[in-house]
């Protein structure tokens, strides 16, 4: 101890009772105690609070080390902060020998006094946990009373163990525990959480036993439990005891001693954990870390009881989804995630994972089914409610742990989709505008035949009305005739209305409405629409429609637009052809891939070879007054229906346009 006499820090040696056996001169100068006065005094004489001091001492002896800030009482009764490091020394046979204290005055003294003393050393030889079992008391007491508690006989029912460990709150852990158990580096993320979410799977029962035994005891003597192997640890010994401080009767300490399998494993583990933590926190993507083990345990039990179809089971037991949402816990989020959700405090994000799926009905169930099925990843687009009340579109990416990995971490990432969806919506509007413009352009080319078509019923109406008036104005009015003619007026008016309706459909601006359609019906409506146009241009349309086509899923007006556009193009292509040869062959069929196909062939001049590649390009036109968007729109409409359109020249002359649409059952719309 002579060397210590020259040290500038205070060095004190206590015996195991806490009685001071040695102090160096620095102790005198630092704490203002005369060496003679110090020797023979007790550790608690240097502390302002005797009870606090004695519980710290007891912990020190059990844990082996303690360091941290302490309030020190000077001889003058003044209190001063000091950074103190206490180490238990052992003899050659491993028995505790004495305690050596190094202390230096704290720069920021006095230390604010703490309501509950810092009972666990921040750094120490053994991993140490501090629990509050207050909320688990009723369960623990019931166990002890019911079974007369026998640790060795105790068989844990999984539910009961879950409930117990979910009620035990973590008050503190030391660095060694963080390292050994792979806990979050930020102690704030551990404190106040339930032990159930952080304690390793294989030693849960042992912890349950230990806590039950401690709760049943009246003294603060330690209890131990041994477990042969936990993950990479061997010879794991749990030592637990209740705090000596009567002010905190529900505080329990658990020390964990273990041997790591491989000597390098510790370093590797630490390094990889650091990398992992850095990766997550600096990842420019919102990341949630979720502990879904509780759900996994439920799934294991369901599987064990023979349930393989969770979809059906969860329909019968909808409360399962609810339960899963509550027991699956978020334990960490990165800054990006907080930003995405507009949250201020990390603690708002920690807890049941329910809030992640609240914005989309059914999402929680789909995630649960994915987890149950044992897949690696689950991806879906969903809407989430942010903490500041927005509803945003995100792409959810979930990665479930697979055997061989740490089971306690399910990674959830979300990509903000709002911008992409917004752009897509804008694109759809532009496409809609173009498609509308193309329809108007087609209608514009057909004004003559449209006028003709409307004039027919109007002429009939006028003529019948005039005739009717003549009958009524006769000296002997013919009411029977007037009645008959007026009925015809009604019919013709209805017809005129239908024609105008069809034109309005084509001319109107509207969002596509996808329904199941009989494609032949669609074609037939087009032929009615085009009858006058083709007659006027002396074109004969020969339609061969295959009966009983399977229904297709599509928008009637858009598909009509495609057909009308192709036929109008064909009619125009034959303007210069001899009148006897103006024919259009329209065919519908089911092709070899079970698609509904439609081909429109004319007897015009065909498509010039050098136009073939550009024919579906926007603004490509050979017509003087054409917009050049007709075929481009046709292509985009057909593609939006999941189909394809092609153009070719027929060997016998003329152009042939062919397109196909998947049938209702195969379309993914």
């Amino acid at each position: 101890m002579e060397l210590a006499d020259y040290a500038t820090d205070s060095v004190i040696r206590y015996d195991l009772d806490g009685t001071i056996r040695y102090c160096n001169p620095a102790s005198e100068t630092q704490f203002g105690w005369k060496a003679a006065k110090l020797l023979g005094r007790h550790f608690h004489d240097l502390m302002p609070d005797r009870a606090e001091a004695s519980s710290l001492w007891k912990n020190l002896l059990r844990i082996g080390r303690w360091d941290g800030l302490l309030q020190r009482r000077l001889q003058s009764e003044v209190e001063i902060g000091a950074y103190v490091r206490l180490t238990v020394r052992h003899d050659s046979r491993g028995r505790p020998l004495d305690v050596v204290e190094y202390a230096a005055l704290s720069m920021n003294s006095p230390v604010p006094s703490l309501p509950v003393p810092p009972l666990i050393a921040e750094r120490g030889g053994a991993a140490c946990w501090q629990f509050n079992i207050k909320r688990a008391r009723p369960l623990l007491d019931a166990d002890a009373a019911a079974t007369g508690y026998d640790a060795n006989e105790q068989e844990w029912h999984p539910d009961r163990l879950d409930t117990l460990l979910a009620a035990v709150q973590i008050v503190d852990v030391n660095d060694e525990a963080i390292r050994l158990f792979g806990l979050p580096a930020d102690r704030d993320k551990i404190v106040d959480r339930r032990v159930a979410s952080l304690w390793p799977e294989q030693s849960r029962a042992a912890l349950g036993d230990l806590l039950t035994a401690i709760a049943a005891k009246t003294d603060t003597e330690p209890e131990t439990r041994e477990i042969p192997v936990v993950d990479r640890l061997q010879h794991v010994v749990l030592t637990g005891w209740r705090a000596a401080d009567p002010r905190c009767p529900d505080i329990v300490f658990v020390r964990v001693n273990a041997i790591l399998n491989a000597p390098n494993a510790v370093i590797e583990l630490e390094a990889s954990q650091n990398r992992y933590r850095n990766l997550i926190s600096f990842l420019p993507v919102p990341v949630w870390q979720i502990d879904a083990r509780a759900a996994g345990r439920i799934f294991d039990r369901l599987k064990a009881s023979g349930i393989t179809d969770l979809a059906a089971y969860s329909e019968e037991h909808p409360e399962l989804v609810d339960l899963t949402c509550d027991i699956v816990q978020v334990f960490d989020v990165n800054d990006e995630a907080m930003q995405l959700f507009g949250g201020r405090q990390r603690s708002d994000f920690i807890g049941p994972a329910r809030y992640l799926f609240d914005g989309t009905p059914g999402a929680a169930r789909r995630v649960m089914l994915a987890h149950f099925s044992g897949v690696r990843n689950h991806v879906e687009e969903l809407k989430v409610k942010t903490f500041d009340g927005r509803l945003i579109d995100v792409l959810l990416l979930m990665t479930f742990p697979v055997p061989g990995e740490r089971r306690d971490t399910t990674i959830v990432m979300m990509m903000d989709n709002s911008a992409r969806l917004e752009a897509e919506a804008k694109l759809r509007i532009v496409e809609g505008d173009f498609s509308h413009a193309a329809r108007l352009s087609t209608l514009g080319e057909m004004t003559t035949s449209i006028a003709h078509e409307i004039k027919q019923p109007l002429s009939a109406i006028l003529m019948n009305a005039q005739t009717s008036l003549r009958y009524l104005r006769k000296a002997d009015p013919n009411l029977e005739k007037a009645d008959q003619l007026t009925s015809r007026i009604v019919e013709s008016a209805q017809r005129a209305n239908d024609i105008i309706g069809r034109i309005q459909d084509m001319a109107g601006k509207r969002d596509p409405i996808y329904t199941l359609l009989d494609f032949n019906d669609v074609v037939h409506q087009c032929l009615v629409f085009l009858r006058h146009e083709s007659e006027e241009k002396l074109v004969v349309i020969k339609a061969r429609l295959q009966p009983d086509l399977p229904p297709i899923h599509g928008d009637r007006i858009q598909l009509q637009q495609v057909i009308v556009n192709l036929i109008v193009n064909s009619i125009q292509a034959m303007n210069t052809a001899p009148q006897t040869q103006r024919e259009i062959y329209l065919e519908t069929s089911v092709d070899e891939d079970d698609h509904v196909a439609c081909s429109i062939r004319d007897t015009g001049t065909g498509i010039p070879a050098d136009h073939m590649d550009q024919i579906f390009d926007g603004f490509f036109t050979t017509k003087e007054d054409g917009l050049g968007i007709g075929l481009a729109i046709c292509q985009s409409i057909v593609r939006a229906h999941g189909g394809e359109i092609t153009a070719a020249n027929h060997p016998e002359g003329g152009a042939v346009f062919r397109f196909w649409i998947p049938t209702g059952s195969t379309a993914e719309l």
């Binding site: 006028a451 003709h452 109007l458 002429s459 019948n464 005739k481 003619l485 015809r488 007659e535």
Partner: protein
Amino acid sequence: MITRTRLWYGFVKIRTQQILKRCDYVRGVKVSNLALVPKIAVVDDDASLRDALVELLEVFDFKCQAFEGAELFLAAHTKNRFDCLITDLNMKGCSGLQLQQKLATLDPRLPVIFISAQSDSEARSKALRSGAVAFLSKPINDDVLYRHIIAALSRGMSRPVDD
């Protein structure tokens, strides 16, 4: 040569059947009922318009026969069977103008009135150049139509009869 029909056409402005019948009765021996009432052919492929036209001609007290297309009319046509033809311009198959061309050789004196939903000036002048009595745009006013029918019948009255 003046036929019975042509004699009648001078008095054609008398409209009602009653008066007509009285005339028949007065001249009963000479004039048969059928022959006295002018017969008008209507060709239009639009059923509602065709029916309306037939009704209007009936209230005018003309006899008429309607055809769905030019071909059907030509099949039923014989010289002097009809006193006037009212045809639509635009029809499937044979158009009004084509029908007029055919009649130019088959029955050159048959007066033709065109009706059309389009104000196609080219077709109009072509029809009139080829001797059409009138080219009326739909919708058609009844009085206007009547005046033109009367004009057509009067013109037909002056046509030579070669039987």
